[in-house]
């Protein structure tokens, strides 16, 4: 049985039908990527899984447990954590305070301490800047903070929304290295990306989303060779 199972999900914004029967699965230990153009419904899919949007139809379950019956703030207790689009850091709080908010769902002091150590090992830069106000960090550091904050909840599944957005190429590489590192340490990752080439180079499998529907689903290797994907998302003719 797969770990995270999304089946035939229909999500609306008011009357706008944003997801038209999306189904996808995550197996334990995988990196799965969701690629697609602007407005395809990638962020909507993540927000639906995180419980911030409630689908009108379909099911979202983790380890066989129905997630739709939980309130948005309860989802994180089920082991799902999100790095939101545009990072969503708390700009007027310090780096430490941001990380503390990341462990809001954790009560065990020792565990919080372990998670903090893990984050500081992944991102030594955050340790150097821990007393700094998050809004004054550079774009790359803010991305590290958003990722670190999500890890503070010690998730089994990490949802990442466009982590490479607006970053310099050298930082993009660092971000994808980190994604692989986090995955190696045992976290399953669902990665939403516009940078399809990078995403497919770290992912095991990929889904292509187009105007609210999954149009292609394959292994990352095959997707890279798929002519439609090459033409639409990898910029090859």
């Amino acid at each position: 049985m797969s770990m995270l199972n999304i089946e035939n999900v229909h999500t609306y914004y008011g009357n706008i039908h944003a997801l038209k029967g999306v189904s996808l699965k995550l197996e334990k230990g995988e990196i799965v990527t969701l690629i697609g153009g602007n407005g395809a419904g990638k962020t909507t899919t993540l927000r639906t899984i995180a419980g911030l949007l409630h689908p009108r139809q379909g099911s979202v379950s983790m380890d066989g447990q129905d997630l739709l019956k939980y309130k948005p703030h309860e989802i994180v207790y089920k082991g799902i954590s999100m790095v939101p689009e545009g990072r969503g850091i708390f700009a007027r709080l310090t780096v430490t305070e941001n990380l503390e908010m990341g462990s809001y769902s954790r009560n065990d002091k020792a565990e919080i301490h372990r998670n903090t150590e893990r984050v500081f090992t992944l991102f030594p830069r955050l340790k150097e800047r821990r007393t700094q106000v998050a809004g004054t960090l550079s774009g790359g550091e803010q991305q590290m903070l958003a990722t670190g904050r999500a890890l503070m909840a010690n998730p089994t599944v990490l949802l990442m929304d466009e982590p490479s957005m607006g970053l310099a190429p050298v930082l993009v590489e660092f971000v994808f290295d980190t994604i692989q590192q986090i995955n190696k340490e045992g976290t399953t990752i669902l990665l939403v990306e516009q940078n399809a080439l990078m995403a497919l180079s770290v992912a095991n499998r990929g889904y292509v989303l187009q105007t609210g529907e999954i149009v292609i689903h394959d292994t990352a290797e095959n997707l890279k060779k798929n002519p439609t994907v090459q033409k639409a998302y990898l910029g090859m003719e």
Binding site: S81, M82, G88, F90, Y104, S105, V133, G140
Partner: protein
């Protein structure tokens, strides 16, 4: 004698104001030039003498605070009481607006609820329901104000930003209009208000238990502004301490996370409904305490004193003091409420000076007179961010 010279019947005399002004300006100039020297001088001293200096300083402060109303007379005491009441309201709104980012333009409603509760529970007048002692009525007033906080909070939970401001503005006006209406006059006295409110009494404990008999104070009656001064100042200090502990708590962090980004806070496990309601309720509780003390200061309540301008003043003092900063609330209340009170003698120009001062503060110190540490770091981060750029290039 000195007090007579400095303060007239309704406020400072011209000479008093001039002396005051010169003292403040020269004092702050002295601190600007010598302040760092003094601070570093103190920090170079051994640990024990540092503690001694600190203890002496606070002892002096406490001595001045204790003795002040006896020396200054009723006018200054009353001004300080009013400042303290605004500090209480400011600390309350600082929770909803400063910490949780929920703008409330009808904050005076909770002040009114606190005032009316104490009035109804202690008045000898025709609307008094009970004659319980002030000390018992105050916690009840705080609880009732909290209930009203939840009552306001529930319908506006999903409302954000500008819409929230309008909705709360309406709530404040509704409370004032209902309290002063002919419709509810049999309960709240309508435009005639509630009068004959009992003064707090420091007496034998047994007195507390008799609730329905008209009481005579067998101990010390705290009737004069000089007496209410102690109640108001102690309350303001206590609530400032509570607000400070709240800010450092898990709940305080959750409020600030909501202020920064509701969705992300929720995804991290913050229960928005519970956390927001607590912000409304605790903010209302502080304002309710302020209203309760106001009632015994003036001995009567009129709905017409619960004007929108009170709510606006509270918002303004938070902004001038520094959003989210607890010392900022104190400084803001002194600057915005205390100074105009002291300047009553030059009444024609009072609000002109007030308006100019507001604009000047916002231009010169946009982060507020005494901003929170975070606001300072945020607005003066040129140095640190250039370091970031360097490290990256």
């Amino acid at each position: 004698m000195l007090a007579k010279y400095l303060f007239g019947q309704t406020g400072m005399t011209i000479s008093g104001a001039t002396i005051f002004f010169v003292l403040i300006v020269s004092g702050s100039m002295f601190w600007n030039t010598m302040g760092t020297n003094i601070k570093s001088g103190v920090s170079r001293l051994p640990k024990t003498s540092q503690t001694t200096i600190r203890i002496l300083f606070f002892a002096l402060l406490a001595y001045v605070a204790l003795g002040l109303p006896q020396v200054s007379g009723p006018f200054i005491a009353q001004v300080i009481v009013i400042i303290s009441l605004y500090i209480l309201m400011g600390l309350g709104l600082n929770i909803t607006l400063g910490f949780a980012g929920l703008l409330d333009l009808g904050f005076v409603a909770f002040y009114a609820v606190g005032a009316y509760t104490v009035g109804l529970l202690t008045s000898y007048g025709e609307y008094g329901l009970q004659h319980i002692p002030f000390w018992v009525a105050v916690p009840i007033a705080v609880l009732v104000a909290m209930a009203f906080g939840a009552f306001l909070g529930l319908p506006v939970l999903g409302v954000r930003g500008d819409y929230l401001a309008i909705a709360t503005l309406g709530f404040g006006e509704i409370v004032r209009l209902l309290a002063g209406s002919d419709f509810l006059a049999p309960f709240f006295g309508g435009p005639r208000g509630i009068i004959g409110i009992q003064k707090p009494c420091l007496g034998p404990l047994g007195e507390f238990l008799k609730i329905d008999v008209p009481r005579v104070c067998n101990g010390i009656e705290l009737g004069k502004p000089q007496d209410i001064y102690y109640i108001a100042v102690v309350s303001a200090l206590f609530i400032a301490f509570v607000a400070w502990r709240l800010r450092e708590s898990r709940l305080g962090r959750a409020w600030m996370a909501i202020r920064e980004d509701e969705d992300v806070a929720e995804a991290l496990g913050v229960n928005l409904i519970q956390t927001k309601l607590l912000a409304y309720m605790l903010g209302a509780a502080f304002a309710g305490l302020g209203g309760a003390i106001f009632t015994v200061l003036v001995g009567s309540i009129f709905a017409s004193s619960m004007q929108l301008i009170v709510s606006i003043n509270v918002v303004a003092l938070i902004v001038v003091g520094g959003m989210g900063s607890i010392p900022g609330v104190v400084v803001g209340a002194i600057a915005l409420i205390g100074l105009p009170e002291l300047l009553r003698e030059v009444s024609e120009f009072r609000f002109l000076i007030y308006g100019i001062a507001l604009i000047a503060v916002m231009l010169v110190k946009p982060e507020g007179l005494w901003p929170s540490q975070v606001a300072i770091r945020e607005l003066h981060h040129e140095d640190s961010s250039s370091l970031v750029e360097e490290a990256e290039s």
